[in-house]
Symmetry: C2
Subunit: 203 residues, 2 copies
């Protein structure tokens, strides 16, 4: 088999898994089903990932390899903290819109009986929280106040995602149309809420 085909097979397994896991949940999908959907031999899954858990681990790592740089790039010492924050939120919302299924999958799937998956998620989410923490220090929040730092980061990560988790409800209750104009107003609202909120915490 040519090198290119092998790479394709590996990525096809990952793509098929994201699609299946996000529809049926991690526990609801078997390796045979993944192999069928990806159009590969069952043995390929063992060869590349050593089973279903290996696939999930790789999906999570790939996801954070794309997500973390958004937080790193946003924290630009040449810009005001406000400008960095607005840039960060805009980029996060754009990223979630482009990768909603993947996002909800990584965020939702916590197989508590698979410690190695929990370990990866803890480590990678920890990296995000540290980045948010450094940005918050630029707003004058005290990094020694762990209770404040421990609230802002998780709240921010959840807040930007809530919109997408609850999208079906949004339509019904608020009659919002998730178009370009809505998301612009949404980014502004989240930014004002947090920037005013953080200013209130600093007092």
């Amino acid at each position: 088999m040519a090198e290119k085909d092998r790479k394709d097979a590996r990525q096809r397994i990952l793509d098929a898994s994201v699609s299946l896991f996000s529809r049926k949940g991690f526990a609801g999908v078997g390796v045979r089903e993944i192999a069928n959907e990806a159009g590969v031999n069952l043995a390929m899954i063992s060869y590349y990932f050593n089973g279903k858990t290996g696939i999930l681990k790789e999906i999570i790592e790939q996801f954070f390899n794309l997500y973390l740089p958004i937080f790193i790039d946003a924290d630009d010492p040449g810009k005001t903290p406000e400008a960095c924050f607005r840039h960060l939120i805009r980029k996060i919302v754009h990223f979630i819109r482009e990768n909603t299924d993947l996002f909800l999958l990584v965020y939702n799937e916590i197989p508590l009986d698979v410690p190695e998956v929990a370990e990866i998620k803890s480590r990678r989410i920890g990296e995000l929280l540290e980045r948010i923490g450094s940005l918050m220090m630029r707003f004058g929040l005290d990094p020694a106040d762990r209770a404040i730092m421990a609230v802002i980061g998780p709240t921010l990560i959840s807040a930007t995602l809530a919109q997408f988790r609850l999208r079906p409800v949004m339509h019904k209750i608020f009659q919002v149309k998730p178009d370009e104009k809505y998301y612009e107003h949404y980014v502004d609202t989240i930014c004002t809420l947090f920037l005013s909120g953080v200013a209130g915490l600093r007092k």
Copy 2:
């Protein structure tokens, strides 16, 4: 079988299911496993719930029957909106602490291929969002500004939960000890963040 035993069997099935679903995910648990854990005959599950989906639906309804009254009770016209809000957050955090497994289960489990479960969740979360909306009107936010209303509610619901979803990470990164004192400071922080944030949106 006596009426009391029948009731016990029904509740035992629900309790066993919460425990199993929250550890293994909805898709990862079979009815036979539930019957074993609950110590009931397999036929009982069909009799009471018409299968696994029926159990999940009942768990979700029971959960919201406990959770929604917190939002209703908190909105007391005799108190200032600030006092109502602080009371609400305190009660929510207390409720999540007492029912963490159940909370994460109801929040996480979105079997997208089971429309009747999605329908119940949409309807019940909609009830919460409407309650938060009325409280926000008391802060002077414009209920016609759907984009603002659609942000505050979901953000608040997610924010109070984020702390519990990410508890293992919290320990590691922030060295916080989730005791009485921490949660008091946590409630204060969330309240200040939101109350200052909402004041910023009103401007």
